[in-house]
Subunit: 104 residues, 2 copies
Amino acid sequence: MGELSVEQLVSAFKALGHPTRLAILGWLKDGNSFPPQDRPADEVGVCLKHIQARANVSQSTASQFMATLQRADLVICTRIGQFSHYRRNEQTIAKLGKAIGADV
Amino acid sequence: MGELSVEQLVSAFKALGHPTRLAILGWLKDGNSFPPQDRPADEVGVCLKHIQARANVSQSTASQFMATLQRADLVICTRIGQFSHYRRNEQTIAKLGKAIGADV
DNA sequence: TCGTGACATCGCGATATTACGATTTAGACC
DNA sequence: GGTCTAAATCGTAATATCGCGATGTCACGA
């Protein structure tokens, strides 16, 4: 139940400082709004392909967006076979909310 | 008592996505920790010069940092004579904290 | 084992940010 | 007026980010 370090705060804010990445994190609140998948989204997360389709960017760009969010610990990746599934890391997001007003 | 728009959220996160700007906003929580000034810091804010000195950057860089924070509505500038004083905009910061978990 | 599909990584040009010194604007004071 | 100081803006080079296509890597299936 530790706090976020300054470096973690900065990298999280940087990751959220982009309209598409911010939108993606919002979309992931309702994983079931995405097309159906073998494993349900609210268990393992949403497949990268579906995120890419909704964001309307290239495959490499979508992958980089998610890598940035992952480095900031804002999402968790679950790889199943060839598929990468992403879901929100509510713990970090909650810490971030608490940090605003406390640290910030 | 409205909410922050997506553009406002992005610009706020961008502004906070820099270690020095993030630190400055934290410093401004205790304006009295800065050197004394004619008008007390908890009334009008902290003089740019004191912020510059603590951040250890050039005058122009300090000015730009504060302009970025101001464009994001995270600080309020009060000009008294030749001096620009900056203080936190607690309203926006509170809205930002609420937005995390709601929008984000 | 040879494809095929999913994803990550590389390499790149375009664009944005960073931080600075120099200049300009503006107020205070004589 | 003139001069000082504070701060914003301008111009800049260095650096970082953005978004893409191309390539590499890995898992699955015929």
